[in-house]
Amino acid sequence: MSTGEIKRVIIIGAGQAGGETAQRLRQAGFDGDITLIGEEPAPPYQRPPLSKAYLKGEYDMDRLLLRPASVYAEENITLLTSLRAVWIDRANRRVRVEGGRELPYDVLVLATGAKPRKLPLVGADLDGVHLFRTAADADALRPRMVSGAKLVVVGAGYIGLEAAAVARQLGLDVTVIETAVRPLARVTSPEVAGFFLDEHTRQGVRFVLGGQPALIKGRDRVTGVALSDGADVPADIVIAGIGVTPEVALAQQCGLAVENGIVTNRQCLTSDPAIYAIGDCAARPIVHFDERVARLESVHNAVEGAKIVAAAITGGKPHVEEAPWFWSDQYDLKLQIAGLFQGYDHIVLRGVMADRAFAAFYYKGPKLIAVDAVNRPAEYLGAKMLIQTGRTVAPSELEDESRPMKEIVAAAR
């Protein structure tokens, strides 16, 4: 379909990817119908602060909203909240929503996101066991995060550790149970994981590493987590932070290609030329990852998808992809990540971990592929620019702290 014939765009999923797509379509001059369908009651909002400032009570919901609720009507974007899309009829290009109404589309954007994994244990439905994905999840948790309460976090990924950090700051007693032998096993190197383990330990978090939860104990509400080795960890609250699964049910129902997420090409187009998929639910070849197919769960990826799709639908200049980036705030530590570290063969440290300000650079052969920077924004941004432009620098240059990062980046080839 040529871009001029596209009059009706439906976006399923009103998270950051869906919300940004609607906004960027209007910014790019698209004047057809835009319908944004979301299951949650709120207009699109930012999820990252949920496990940080929002959980701590420093941010309210208004502050999380990507745009004020009134903007959607002003920009003639039909925002349908608390509504589920239940069926996609590709042959007739229609979406059926709960209640039976059918909405026609010329182009459909799937931004259905991901679902947090439930603990696969008896007792996982007990009161006091929380998943952590939505504002409602955070709202349910917040009143229980009181000083002295016993919190068990199952899963030592970024969200679990961020929640643990907030909980310690609020005075809770915190234990993190992780089946792997180290925290952050999926997302960073043993070196950086070790730094965060030490930091949390110093802040009073207890870790059970290599621990296998066997059962969530409690009658009406949770009282603890039993481990397979027979140990018991008492708990008033349990947070399951064991990752997410992409929300692909609709894509599967209508026969789109799905593997780990809805499969798309670089332009975010699925196996149906009228359907795009973006954000946490979709996997595409990533330019800055040697075109390997990856499903990234991040703000960066949500925004990239929105930019790519808005340009494609409006026939605008194709979006030039940015190198992937992420961040995590724990205590007074700001971790900033650029690139994807998977497949690295050596690591170069700039600064010392004991100073709580250092950067770990990941190399694959001579090529710089990623950085984890803790309280070192220059190293983060500098490395991001290098990765973005496919340049690299010798490890010895980065190890030389007397040379400013800016100078190193400027001289890189």
Partner: protein, 106 residues
């Protein structure tokens, strides 16, 4: 509450009533001022909310923290009056603030 004027690179002006406690970035994004991307939502993680503070307001907006300064070092077309707008908190004292936007945030 502060009235803030954002001037796009093209010269187009946007005047916004920004509530106290929000940041200069948030007020712009919520009103879709083009030219402030702020992809990270204000976590000081992306350096895409770069603005030039009108010189007469520099004393009132204060100085960039070392973290912010390090981020600015890598922004495009940085001047002495460059700031990341996610790090400037709105207060009554900023009523009338004028900021100019760079040609590009990337």
């Amino acid at each position: 509450m502060a009235k803030i004027t954002y001037i796009e690179h093209t010269g187009k002006e946007h005047v916004i009533d920004a509530p106290n406690g929000q940041t200069v970035m948030e007020a712009a994004v919520k009103h879709a001022v083009p030219g402030i991307d702020a992809d990270c939502g204000g976590a000081c993680a992306c350096a895409t909310c770069h603005v030039y503070v009108d010189p007469e307001w520099l004393a009132k907006t204060g100085e960039a923290s070392s973290m912010e300064q390090s981020m600015l070092d890598f922004a495009n077309d940085v001047e002495d009056n460059s700031r990341l707008s996610c790090q400037i908190k709105v207060s009554d004292a900023l009523d009338g603030l004028v900021v100019r936007l760079p040609k590009s945030q990337h």
